[in-house]
Point group: C2
Chain length 92, copies 2
């Protein structure tokens, strides 16, 4: 998944690459920045938000967190429920 407008999709790369993507979005004037992830990447999305807040952008705050269930289709054509998270980060 790629980064576009003000959303960073967190996947299986190291957390730091998504942290840098978020920092870049803020430096380009985006605010809020949405950090999204599904399934096992949800834990990494939380790591990313915490690292941005604590180590990179001092005035960044988590504005809202929401969770949901997405239906995805497997390669075999089966419907599968997968949890998702969206973390909205703003600069104060």
């Amino acid at each position: 998944m790629a980064e576009d407008d003000n959303t960073v999709y967190v996947g299986s790369k190291p957390a730091m690459s998504y942290v840098l993507a978020v920092v870049t979005q803020f430096s380009e004037g985006q605010d809020p920045v949405h950090v999204k992830a599904r399934g096992k990447a949800i834990s990494r999305a939380v790591d990313v938000a915490e690292m941005v807040k604590r180590k990179f952008i001092e005035d960044a705050v988590v504005d809202d967190i929401s969770i949901d269930t997405d239906q995805i289709e497997t390669d075999e054509g089966e419907e599968l429920d997968v949890s998702s998270i969206q973390i909205d980060i703003t600069q104060e």
Copy 2:
């Protein structure tokens, strides 16, 4: 980690065992129930909250979600930062 009062700590067991722990807490009159997890178990905690809400307790809603960074000590005595989540579930 164990279940006590109105908190369910999500670890490495299958999600369903934590779902049943949450359902049990509600059946015993606890409200809200807090679902907590650290590190890689965060994704499972989101699964647990979504499963409770969608499949087990129809009037359950996610009231609040917060994330944080906890300092834990490794077996080698080193300090390590680990992300955590708390999901508060209530019955409407």
